[in-house]
C-alpha cells in the first residue's frame, strides 16, 4: 500500500535521511521506532508532501507521490496526524473536526462527526470549546479524530503518546488497536518501544537516518540488540 524506497532527504545542506526503505501493507499496523532526531518526522513530512525528497521513491497504492502536493496526498486517503497535534487552537472542537473533511469525505461529514465523538466521548463534552483550551490528551484525541474525518485509507500517527500520562498512553494504544481491528492500515511512529511492539504487526527501527532493524514485532520484542539499546535490559 505504502512503499518507501531508498528515500534521501534533509533540510538544505543538512542530510537527515540517507536512504530509507519501508513498506506498509493493506490493513497492517507497522511501527517505526527510534529516538529523538532519528529522522522519523522528517520521513513523515516527506510522505505527506510537506517536503520533497532529494532522491528515492514514495508510492501509495502504486502511484508515485514523492514531490506531489500535500492536497493530492490527502485526496488519495493518506492522512497524517502530526507530532505535537497541530490542532487549530483558535477554533472549536467541532470546527477542527469539520476541517478534517475539508478535501476528503466532505459529504459524509455529519455521519463521521457522530462516529468520532462515539470513539472519543470526551470531545462531545468539549464540542464548542476552543481546541487551544483542551488538555494535551484531549488535543491528541482531537487530532486523531480530525484525521479520521477524512476517512483515511492509511493513517500516519506521529508520536501519539508523547506528553500523555501513563493512563492515557494505555488508552491511546487501546484505541490504536481498535482502529486497526476495524481494518484501517496504520503507520505508527513512536518512541514508546514496548507498547508499540505489543500492538504492531511489523516494526522498523530508525537510527541517524537509516533503518537498522526490521522484522515482525514479536521477533523484535525478543531481539537482544534492541532490548539492550532501547530497553536497557
Amino acid at each position: 500500500m505504502l512503499e518507501v524506497t531508498d528515500v534521501k532527504t534533509g533540510y538544505g545542506h543538512a542530510k537527515v535521511l540517507h536512504g530509507v526503505s519501508l513498506k506498509v501493507r493493506e490493513g497492517e499496523l507497522v511501527a517505526l521506532l527510534g529516538s529523538n532526531g532519528a529522522g522519523k518526522s522528517t520521513l513523515n513530512n516527506n510522505i505527506s508532501g510537506i517536503y520533497k525528497p532529494f532522491a528515492g521513491s514514495i508510492r501509495f497504492d502504486g502511484a508515485e507521490i514523492a514531490g506531489t502536493s500535500a492536497e493530492e496526498i490527502v485526496d488519495r486517503g493518506l492522512i497524517q496526524v502530526p507530532e505535537g497535534r497541530r490542532v487549530f487552537p483558535n477554533m472549536s472542537v467541532r470546527e477542527n473536526l469539520e476541517l478534517g473533511s475539508y478535501r476528503r469525505a466532505t459529504p459524509n461529514r455529519a455521519r463521521n462527526i457522530d462516529r468520532v465523538v462515539e470513539i472519543f466521548p470526551r470531545l462531545k463534552e468539549r464540542f464548542d470549546q476552543y481546541a487551544g483550551t483542551l488538555s494535551g490528551g484531549e488535543q491528541q484525541m482531537l487530532a486523531i479524530g480530525r484525521g479520521l474525518m477524512a476517512e483515511p485509507r492509511l493513517l500516519i500517527l506521529d508520536e501519539p503518546s508523547l506528553g500523555l500520562s501513563p493512563l492515557l498512553v494505555e488508552e491511546m494504544f487501546a484505541l490504536i488497536q481498535k482502529l486497526r481491528a476495524e481494518g484501517l492500515a496504520i503507520f505508527l511512529v513512536e518512541q514508546n518501544v514496548v507498547q508499540s511492539l505489543e500492538v504492531a504487526d511489523r516494526a522498523y527501527v530508525m537510527e541517524n537516518g537509516l533503518i537498522t532493524v526490521e522484522g515482525p514485532a514479536q521477533d523484535l520484542m525478543h531481539d537482544e540488540e534492541l532490548r539492550r539499546s532501547y530497553l536497557g535490559m
Binding site: E71, Q80, P82, L99, Y102, R104
Partner: protein, 299 residues
C-alpha cells in the same frame, strides 16, 4: 470650559450629539477600509502598505465606470468587488507571495513597493487632478433634527454593517472561511488536512481587496478621487485595526465608529486641524488599558 489651559467653546447638548452622529457615519467608512486590512493582517500577518493604493485604484474604477459608462457608483459594486477580489488574488499570488520567501520584512517592503508603483501609475495615467462622481441624490437625505444626514452617508453605514456581518458569517460558516482561520494560526496542521496554504493566502488577500473595493463604491459619491486619496483613509484605518484588535472584524467596526465619533467631537471643540489629535489621544488611552485592542485576542 477649560482643558489643559485651553479654553474650549461650550456647545449645547444637541450640537455635541449631532457631531457624534455624523461621527458614526464617518466611522463607518473608516471601518470599511479597516476591514480588509484587518483580514489581511489576521491571516497573512502582513502589514499591507498597498491597501490605500488599492482603495484609490478601486475609486478610479468606480469613477470611470460612472463617467464613461454611466454606471451608478453603488451599482458599480457588482463589478469592482469581484474585480478587486481577482486583482488582490493575482497580486498576492504573482508578486507578494513570490517575492516574500515567507519573511515578514520583505513582505512589508514588497507591499510598499507595489503601492509606490501603482500610485505613480495613477499619477501618470489619470493626472493629479481631483475628480468627482456626481449623483442626483448627492445632497438628499434626512433631517435628524440635530444633524442632517445625506443618503450616501446612510449607505456607507448600512454597507459597512452588512459587509462586516457578511464577512463574519463567511469566516464562521463556510469551509473556505474556516480554512482561512485555520491557516492564520496553524499552517502545518492546515497543510496536513489538504488545505492549500498558498491558495488561502491569496484568497484572503483577494477578499481584503474586495472589501476595499466595496468601500470605494460607498465613498465615491462623497469623496473626490485623486492618486493620493488612499492616505486619507489608510492611516486612520491602521489606527482602527490596532485599536479594534488586529484580525478582528467586530473590532474594526467598533474601532472605526469610536475613531469617527472621537474625531468629529474633537473637531467641534478643537477645530478642524487640532481636532485630529483626539484620534491619537483615544488610541493611546485605549491601548494603555487594553494592549491588544478592544477585541484583540490575548497575546
Amino acid at each position: 470650559m477649560d482643558f489643559l489651559g485651553i479654553s474650549l467653546p461650550s456647545y449645547s447638548l444637541e450640537t455635541v450629539f449631532g457631531s457624534a452622529i455624523s461621527g458614526v457615519f464617518l466611522g463607518a467608512i473608516y471601518a470599511l477600509v479597516a476591514l480588509g486590512l484587518t483580514l489581511i493582517y489576521g491571516v497573512l500577518h502582513i502589514i499591507n502598505f498597498a491597501h490605500g493604493t488599492l482603495l484609490m485604484l478601486a475609486m478610479y474604477a468606480v469613477f470611470f465606470l460612472w463617467s464613461v459608462f454611466g454606471v451608478d457608483p453603488y451599482l458599480a459594486m457588482l463589478i469592482v468587488v469581484p474585480g478587486g477580489y481577482l486583482f488582490g488574488y493575482a497580486l498576492q499570488r504573482s508578486v507578494i507571495g513570490r517575492t516574500s520567501h515567507g519573511r515578514d520584512e520583505i513582505i512589508l517592503l514588497t507591499t510598499l513597493g507595489v503601492s509606490i508603483v501603482l500610485e505613480n501609475f495613477a499619477l501618470f495615467a489619470f493626472s493629479a487632478n481631483e475628480r468627482n462622481v456626481q449623483v442626483p441624490y448627492d445632497f438628499d437625505g434626512i433631517d435628524l433634527g440635530v444633524v442632517y444626514i445625506v443618503w450616501p452617508q446612510i449607505a456607507a453605514l448600512v454597507g459597512s454593517l452588512l459587509i462586516t456581518a457578511a464577512l463574519w458569517c463567511f469566516m464562521r460558516f463556510t469551509d473556505t472561511g474556516k480554512a482561512i482561520r485555520a491557516v492564520a494560526k496553524e499552517r502545518q496542521g492546515a497543510r496536513l488536512m489538504g488545505i492549500n496554504v498558498e491558495h488561502i493566502f491569496a484568497v484572503s488577500f483577494g477578499i481584503g481587496t474586495a472589501c476595499v473595493a466595496a468601500a470605494a463604491s460607498l465613498l465615491a459619491p462623497t469623496y473626490a478621487v485623486f492618486p493620493q486619496v488612499g492616505y486619507l483613509f489608510v492611516l486612520i484605518a491602521f489606527t482602527v485595526v490596532v485599536l479594534g484588535g488586529m484580525g478582528s472584524f467586530v473590532g474594526a467596526l467598533v474601532g472605526g465608529l469610536v475613531i469617527g465619533v472621537t474625531e468629529q467631537i474633537g473637531r467641534l471643540y478643537l477645530g478642524e486641524s487640532l481636532g485630529l489629535i483626539t484620534i491619537s489621544a483615544i488610541f493611546i488611552l485605549i491601548l494603555l488599558f487594553r494592549p491588544t485592542g478592544l477585541f484583540g485576542q490575548r497575546l
